[in-house]
Amino acid sequence: MHDVKRRYVIPGDKIAEGNFRPLMNVVKSGSTLTATRIGIAETGRDGVKVIPLSGVYIPRVNDLVIGKIVDHSSLSWEVDINSCFSAHLPAQDVFGRDFTPARDDMSKHFAIGDMITARIMAFDRTRDPMLTVQDRDLGKIERGELLMISATRVPRLIGKRGSMIQMIEQATQTRVLIGQNGIVVVTGRNPEGIKLAVRAIKMVEEEAHTANLTQRIKVLLNVPDTPPQQEVSRAPVGTGSDKPQEIESTIDEVEEELEVEGEK
């Protein structure tokens, strides 16, 4: 991973020339690879990509998202997932294959206005994304403080192997559920803790690409400086603990990037 070359780019900047594979936010014309977004360009062995620093959420298959039920037809719920496409949750996903609108009452499960955690089952931009709630920890969100951050800040909020979010959770005695679409739910017993966690999350969003952010969050949360957090026993509920691993590489790289800046 250490032979990865990184630098800042804006749209139209030439990143590399030669036999590289364009991965993310990169176009190739001839042998020139050009960035299409503002962000951090990475040239690695497997190809060239740009980690974007701005933009709205575009769904991807397998993303864990938090959405709001806005409507339902006789066969599916319509879910607002903070994107330009509204998602659909088929009733069959909840009731099983033998679902019939005549017998099963859809409003028993999810009513309009309910918030749900779901995974994107299928999406290819030609049709609206399809959701599923058939997995551990998915389904209706009963309580919590809701806030929205930019989807491009989600990897930073999670941190390297979930370090940032773990730190916030432990210091404030809360549980933080993060959707890839930038919707965050904070739950906890102590209202003061929730307030502090919300402040920390907003600070991460606003200062995501600045150096020494972890340090400043530590100060805000009154976390002692030295000891790296030990793995504490955590209930599996909603800490986003399965998702962060999947996007770990991006997180690592953003984090490392920031560390490099910090040293300068």
Binding site: G12, V27, V56
Partner: protein, 249 residues
Amino acid sequence: MTQTRNLIDENGKRTDGRTADELREVKITVGTVRNADGSAFIEFGKNKIVAAVYGPREVHPKHMALPDRCVLRCRYHMSPFSTDTRKSPAPSRREIEISKVMREALEPALMLEDYPRAAIDVYVEVLQSDGGSRCAGIDAASVALADAGINMRDLVAACAAGKVDEQIVLDINDTEDKEGGADMPVAYMPRLDQVTLLQLDGKLSQEQFDECIDKAITGCKMVYEIQRQALIQKYFGNETELKEEAAPQ
């Protein structure tokens, strides 16, 4: 267009004291509109223009959506207080035309096929107008689009050139536009070396035309550097080391 007075003095200075190859002062600030997905504020001489980009978002009315690509909608509007005498806030013939040419100038830079069935809305609001507001509007809109994180092949930089006292000059101001011989707004993608807007109001000979377009493109390149710095300042601050690495090769 009849010229009533000399617009270039014996020292070669123009009405606002610039030389023939000089741009007005340009200042761009990124991210000025909090509610928008991307925004920019540009001061191009006396022009003060806000551009705000929303999207990609759902298309309303739904039947406008295209199955294979995104719809780009542009609105150029001049505030009633942007001119000397009050301008009616209703869209005029001129504003409708500029909205259209602006859309066509930005479209080639955007990768609209990445967002099928969605729409991107670009609002350009002129708060104070001087000559060349369409070019300044395109400059701001292009920066706002990049700020909104929409996939782009290149930024679009725009600048006008024209003929004043039979001399080709860069970046026509309001007086020169009204009293001068010709005005040629050009929008240009510097990295791709492609022109996306070319208009001409007035008469030019073949040689003058060539000189004029060359000068306008030079101006676009100068504007591009300012756009670039504005974006880098917003996103990367003053971290020079990586910034230099990202600078043009």
